[in-house]
Symmetry: D2
Subunit: 362 residues, 4 copies
């Protein structure tokens, strides 16, 4: 009810502040009997971790996942899996100035108005550090999905107005290519230009936005529930709940507004005795329910709000206009780091609906 | 859990099929003591009703809302408000052909795979008729919001690639203008061209997509919950759960991908001793929590999938390729009719978070 | 959230007031493909219906169940099943006196304090008529359970201090015997004495309490969730949520307080190559999870609060002491009529956990 | 959905196994701005802790509560409060024998059937150690309630058939007396006899059951929701979800079965210009909603299932009959230690409904 729990059967609850003692997640509803080790989670946390390259913040966090419940002799027991990641490199001193000066583009002012007080250090609960819990839980969801033949892959398709050319439909190849460069773009030439632009923007004390595409393959038909808990509705919520995401598109997305029905509708065909679709404008979902085609989502990510340039704000204590320049360690662009988070959210939705679907028929 | 319930405190459950006996909704959690009459609901159902103009289907439904519980002497009692709308003009004969032939762009195939059987008549539960329940409940949410000074207004901003010029920031004026033409576009010149294009597309047996903008004014700061139940996340789910919606944007939306942080961030200022923002790229939401600015959402709506043109499909009974031409009565474009539905979904989210916020502080 | 919804996967939402236009229920999450007809529901509503005998109120309600959604060609479709029962014999005039005079033992005063207003006619939402929705939904749950070999049977074990001798362990025989007399007691001699006592108590303008036992057989081991959603915890909530129930006992229940561990523990044995238990003090549930033994619950039901004898109350309008004598049509004892309601609540819990259990293992 | 979360607005999620690395709880929905320190929680954990007296197990756990999120400068922030208690004195060797031999009266067999595997060490998730999370969360709920004038007090009313005489209606005095002896009974003479009986029963390798009474004073009228989430229904679930509880009674409880309506109904009176009740058979709840009177619950607690006497069971590996004698460290009676747990569960229900009630009126 207070917004820190996600999912119905496969359900996670995250907790923790950027500069508190730790961040973590409780995963409830993972079926019993699945092999799970700390490395399964660490692998994904390492993908999320900052400080890896010039594309990301310089905060150094080891981010070691500790599983402290729910596993017995290497297998899930069906009981809650509690994961803790201790905060080690939190330096709050840089934030003292921000106590009374809400940063433009940040949650500061909104939290203050909501709760009447807030942990201003590093953004508190509204920090991107909160996504540690999502990624840790997402790693478990991914493992569950992988066991049924479902893969979820995200990559950066656009950064600072530079668009990638996607010349392959092999999802695992796209992932391998994307993971090979710091901006996580599967088009190496575009990636190179993106990195150059990032460097120049960082030098200006500014930041860039971009587009991330998330695709899930191997999803069986039938996932999603009618009316409100449609698969695309739950994906939209899951993705929009990630900080900095301002748009969620499914399949043809925004393009569909300019299309005719005869262009948009994906014709249905028989292919090798199986029902198939000639195109995938639907993004793998019709009436909110998966069709067996690839699920395709696209998110627009706003430029990092923490910029070094002077910005206009207000001092809450004095009630007077003020200027802030945000020092600290900040990604000049969020899309590369959002990739594992977005994959995690999509995986969590699919894992949940996979289990929900078990109750659909007699 | 099976997807027909929406909201946490202000919570609705809808039910009913297009060609079943009725459709309806149970609204639970509306505070006690609010004046409510059938006319409050009828007014919105009339806006949603088909058969009003050349922009919509010719199905004639009186769509009378009957409130059959939860009201006593003209006021809500705090107990569930049950609303029934009987189906009267349902003619299922035209659908017999579709029993074994899933329509491209429709939920038919997905439902069949999910449940192993389906009510194929008029799309069954996946029909747009399902939105009667949303609009009836939305009318109650709107009344609740209105009482606290919140208004929610939607209009068509683009149809068939024709874009409206929005030359006013007066929300109620925009609504009045939009409601004065069948395409619900506040730009009269654009509306005229949209209607012409609709006519020509209908004549071709085809359909058009478009864009709808939904704005809420008067929303106090502090609505929305951290992390997963962010206000924008819940809005994204609410809007994406409407059939035919393929994109949800908040504030600057897709545009943000090409912006710099220094452009995107809305500077914070003092205006007449009150904190204000110089711009509203955030769409009234930061960190998932309302800031007091107008909430701005934009949805892309796909072209009506039911088109008269022949389309390629498969006969599920014979397993062979088949062609269908969809006769029946269908809107050549969904955006004008989606306007009250989208307003309703936004109103339901706001009403729910307004009540949730009551528990936020000691 | 406002308390009118029950269950997680197999989930019901009831609505309606005693003297409103109708009462009803929406059943969401019933698996697709189950044969279901109005008669399945009517059969149980007829068991619940008043006006059948000297053991119950004289209110005459036909109580016809109308299924208005969720069924197609005689089978459930997986979408919500909406059921309406119209109120026909509601005479509110007798209640006018009660508008300002809360009845002792009734919800009147509590509702007034909660909501600031209330529908006083016939108890409004707090009337026993609300159980129509429970019984209609319970009929569907029972049918689902029956298909997997689970039967739920309740009977009156004690009424007005007269205790039945239960001399059979054949559940269906007990049901047949209980259903053959108006007090629903499987011991014919006790039943006869109970009816005599009821007559004399009614003549005095008073009422009686009693005990109802509910047993479920054929429940597979493994139902129930750890910690909070234990099967017995959910049964306790389900049964305590029925008006007039003041105690829920599982298995040995209250008796266990006086037992030794060596008496209470049910020894585990092998019987025909199957694990079995030598006794059933646990009532079929250990650690909150079913063991495969019969589930046994016992509820204490308070005497009908509506009595003809003069009672002391307060006039809310004048703030002065007042006396009321409740005329109207009232059961002199609730246990016989609570039997189908209690069965329904147990069936709803079991159906829900049966579906929940599908997600427990990989 | 998997049963480890409780509450709607004030909502807790517990995790952890008896012999895993830690146990803990995430408390979501506590209003912002409440002063909270580790000592508030430690105080209650110390009441729960084993190894304190001859009335409880000899396991030595320091049970230090660490609050690792949700607090800033000594106040709650409205974000999740995560609490961890590390397991330190877990010795699993004694449990190796139990891997294949389910203990009578324990969850062993049921968990094995549910999940296909289980953490057998110390009962795993089904251990009483799980209640650490309940008590830690309950301490926060109690603090919230205390701030509004609500106190929750539990004590042992019966142990091994010895009944306490309750000669005071001063709740805080009863608490003080109960807390002054190891069996937590407010009648010193009865307490002495209970302790003697415990000693003799322990010497026999057996155990005792008992009765615990939980009372809440200062609860305002209006808490509880109609129909399913009645206050008594939620209390019944909360209390029955505690391991070893087999009965929940509200107010007159089981006694009501033998009463007349004219005895059971609590007359309503005016007392010093305030509405009051002449008696409290209702236990402070009518129609599921609090009346302003004291809330009174009574639970029957079964004798400790872990007894030293030889017991009959089955070896799951060989499929043959087996005998077990449970060594380890076990309470000879659960009621004294269940006291803080039962208080916690009642406090959690009240805190949740207190916040829910904020949404009840316009």
């Amino acid at each position: 009810m207070s917004g820190n729990t996600f999912g119905t059967i496969f359900r996670i609850t995250t907790w923790g502040e950027s500069h508190g003692r730790a961040v973590g997640v409780v995963v409830d509803g993972c079926p019993a009997g699945m092999a799970l080790a700390a490395e399964d989670i660490q692998k994904e946390l390492d993908r999320r971790r900052p400080g890896q390259s010039r594309a990301s913040t310089q905060r150094k966090e080891e981010d070691r996942a500790e599983i402290i419940s729910g596993i017995f002799e290497g297998r899930t027991t069906g009981t809650p899996i509690s994961i803790v990641v201790w905060n080690k490199d939190a330096d709050s001193s840089a934030y003292e100035l921000l106590r009374d000066r809400p940063r433009p583009g940040h949650a500061d002012y909104a939290y203050q108005m909501k709760y009447g007080l807030r942990d201003h250090r590093g953004g508190g609960r509204a920090s991107a550090r909160e996504t540690v819990g999502r990624v840790a839980a997402g790693a478990i969801a991914k493992k569950l999905l992988h066991g049924t033949g479902i893969e979820v892959v995200a990559y950066v398709a656009e950064l600072g107005e530079i668009r990638a050319e996607i010349d392959s439909s092999d999802l695992l190849e796209l992932r391998a290519r994307a993971e090979s460069n710091p901006v996580r773009c599967p088009d190496p030439a575009a990636a190179e230009r993106m990195m150059e632009r990032l460097d120049s923007v960082r030098a200006e004390g500014d930041s860039l936005g971009g587009i991330v595409v998330i695709t899930a393959e191997g999803v069986p038909p039938g996932l999603g529930e009618p009316v409100f808990d449609k698969l695309d509705a739950d994906l939209a919520k899951a993705l929009m709940s990630i900080g900095a995401v301002k748009t969620v598109e499914i399949g043809a997305g925004r393009e569909c507004a300019g299309m005719r029905g005869s262009q948009m509708n994906d014709p249905i065909s028989m292919s090798a005795d199986k029902i198939d679709f000639v195109s995938n404008n639907a993004g793998g979902i019709l009436g909110g329910i998966s069709t067996g085609q690839a699920i395709v989502c696209r998110i627009a990510v706003k430029p990092t709000p923490s910029i070094a340039k002077p910005q206009q704000t207000v001092d809450l204590a004095s009630g007077e206009a003020a200027v802030i320049e945000i020092k600290g360690r900040h990604d000049p662009a969020i899309p590369p780091r959002i990739v594992p988070v977005a994959e995690s959210m999509v995986a969590l939705v699919l894992a949940d609906h996979l289990l929900r679907q078990r109750a659909a028929r007699l």
